[in-house]
């Protein structure tokens, strides 16, 4: 559903071979999605067609509303994520490495996992009112448990032999964390972070919808409240496209690049040892 781009309909008379290939299937899938949307748009009054959304995109982009809203949202989203990353990783390490911490805090983190973003969003608005603290806290509270649980599972998957050996040789705890635990939980951190990005995006939008004075969620609500369904659906499309692009194009790529060392590293380690 690459909905943000202009709906370029390819000429149908392509090669049969292309149509039968994977690439052909993907193209067919995009065309089918756009057709379905077009049908929905012409069938249901309240749903705009793709062309209307594209028009609206250019309108909002040229009058600057689009950039301002995304800027304001990211201004809350990124600090919230940063807090979630730091607290989540620290909490996850503690949960994974110490059975005492695990016994003390595991239940509470599990409860945190089960709390939906919308409850945090409503609570932070009642707590902080219309301040920037509300969306930032909503993002952090939603994402922390997921990152922490992922990291703690990663820590528990760290080779027990290596842990025992480092303990036997009296390696200090900080060194253990830095040189043994952290490198091997990095992909858990990243997986948790990716999930946290999606959930945090959800939370920031909800917080802005219910109690923001600017940002993407606020804009979306503005159009909903004024019964402008073209504007409303377009804004929904904008925030979906944004998060899909961030997740697929940015995070996935970074993740792949970050872990490329692994094969090379493994080979080197074998040679070096």
């Amino acid at each position: 559903m690459s909905a943000g781009t202009a709906p370029v309909e390819r000429p149908r008379g392509g090669l049969i071979g292309f149509a039968a290939s994977d690439r052909g299937a993907q193209v067919a899938s995009v065309i089918a999605a756009l057709l379905f949307w077009q049908l929905l748009g012409s069938g249901i009054d309240r749903v705009p067609t793709p062309a209307e959304v594209v028009d609206f995109f250019f309108e909002q982009a040229s009058n600057g509303v689009l950039w301002a809203a995304f800027y304001n949202t990211l201004d809350n989203f990124i600090p919230g994520l940063a807090i979630a990353l730091v607290v989540g990783v620290a909490l996850g390490l503690a949960l994974g490495m110490s059975s005492i911490v695990r016994a003390l805090l595991n239940d509470i983190v599990v409860v945190g996992l089960a709390v939906p973003g919308v409850i945090w969003a409503l609570l932070v608005i009642l707590w902080f009112g219309f301040s920037w603290k509300a969306p930032v806290t909503a993002v952090a509270l939603t994402a922390i448990p997921f990152i922490a649980i992922n990291v703690s599972q990663g820590v528990r998957g760290v080779s027990r032999d290596l842990m025992r050996m480092s303990k036997a040789f009296g390696v200090p705890r900080t060194k253990q964390v830095r040189q043994l635990v952290l490198p091997s939980v990095m992909d858990y951190v990243f997986a948790g972070f990716r999930f946290g990005v999606i959930l945090g995006w959800n939370a920031v939008l909800l917080a802005e919808w219910f109690g923001g004075r600017n940002g993407v969620g606020y804009q979306t609500r503005l159009f909903y409240d004024s019964n402008d369904f073209t504007g409303f659906v377009s804004w929904v499309v904008f925030f979906i496209v944004f998060i899909v692009l961030v997740d697929r194009l940015l995070l996935e790529r970074v993740q792949r690049r970050t872990f490329r060392w692994r094969e090379q590293g493994a080979a080197k380690l074998k040679g070096g040892a």
Partner: protein
């Protein structure tokens, strides 16, 4: 952090019963201590740091919870939410099963559905809530649609994966003995796939339950999310927290008991390790 005693492998090797029991007691004591510390901190904060309107004490929230139970609201609204969630899963199976079948049986359809399904499974829940709002307005169908949309990708992907692992020998034998396509579907494919449909539901249950609530917060006239919205509209933090705890307790109970029990039953034929 004195994690040495509990994590020490030597203790694990000494299988003396007394030690095991005392370890379990210690563990339980720590869990209780964790909760007490949490509640203590909360009570202290509610009394000293902020006013009780912003953060009610645990006792206030407990009162509120009791009110919700005794007035019958709990049962009524959970029933509605659960019914809508189940209906949503029904719809998700109706859509996801054929898609999963197509993906599992044909490479072309796999490529066709790959992107829509991964995207649909990875977009924020608010999307489905507002989609339901656009299409149905304030309604009963909205949450059902939202649940169906969020859990469908999980069912489709699981079914596709399940068909991938289907016993090829069994398929070859069926054709060798001249079974019709319908018979193969009925006796080989469906039985293989049903556990995977369930696995999809199990994976997406917590997510679907949350999206159901979000959708009700946006537009509904009953259900747990609707009650959360009511509390919010009345500026009742205690109300939100009370419903939140019921919500969480429900998820935990479902995960720990109902879903795990069904899963064990359905996957009983598998070797123990695979069930995880």
């Amino acid at each position: 952090m004195g994690g040495v005693a509990v994590g020490d492998p030597r203790l694990r090797n000494r299988r003396t019963r007394g030690l095991a029991v005392s370890r379990r007691w210690r563990q339980a004591a720590l869990v209780v201590a964790g909760w007490l510390a949490f509640l203590g901190l909360w009570t202290y904060a509610a009394h000293n740091w902020v006013n009780p309107f912003i953060l009610p004490t645990p006792a206030n929230v407990l009162d509120e919870m009791w009110l919700i139970v005794s007035s019958g609201e709990l049962f009524e609204h959970f029933q509605w939410s659960l019914l809508k969630t189940l209906a949503g899963f029904g719809l998700a199976i109706a859509i996801g099963l054929p898609i999963g079948f197509a993906m599992g049986r044909s490479r072309w359809w796999r490529a066709f559905f790959h992107m829509p399904v991964t995207v649909a499974g990875n977009i924020p829940g608010i999307t489905y809530a507002v989609m339901a709002l656009v299409i149905f307005g304030i309604s009963l169908e909205g949450p059902i649609l939202a649940v169906a949309l969020i859990s469908m990708p999980y069912i489709a992907i699981n079914v596709a994966a399940g068909l991938d692992g289907i016993d090829r020998g069994l398929m070859a034998m069926s054709t060798a003995f001249g079974r019709t396509g319908r018979q193969v579907l009925r006796h080989v494919l469906l039985p293989t796939v049903i556990p995977f449909v369930f696995a999809g539901i199990r994976l997406s249950f917590a997510l679907a339950w949350k999206v159901e609530a979000i959708t009700e917060v946006f537009g509904a006239s009953n259900g747990v999310g609707y009650m959360i919205r009511q509390s919010y509209d009345h500026f009742s933090v205690a109300g939100i927290l009370a419903w939140m705890f019921f919500f969480v307790i429900f998820i935990v109970l479902m995960e720990r008991f109902v879903l795990q029990a069904i899963e064990r039953r359905i996957f009983r034929w598998r070797p123990a390790e695979v069930t995880s």
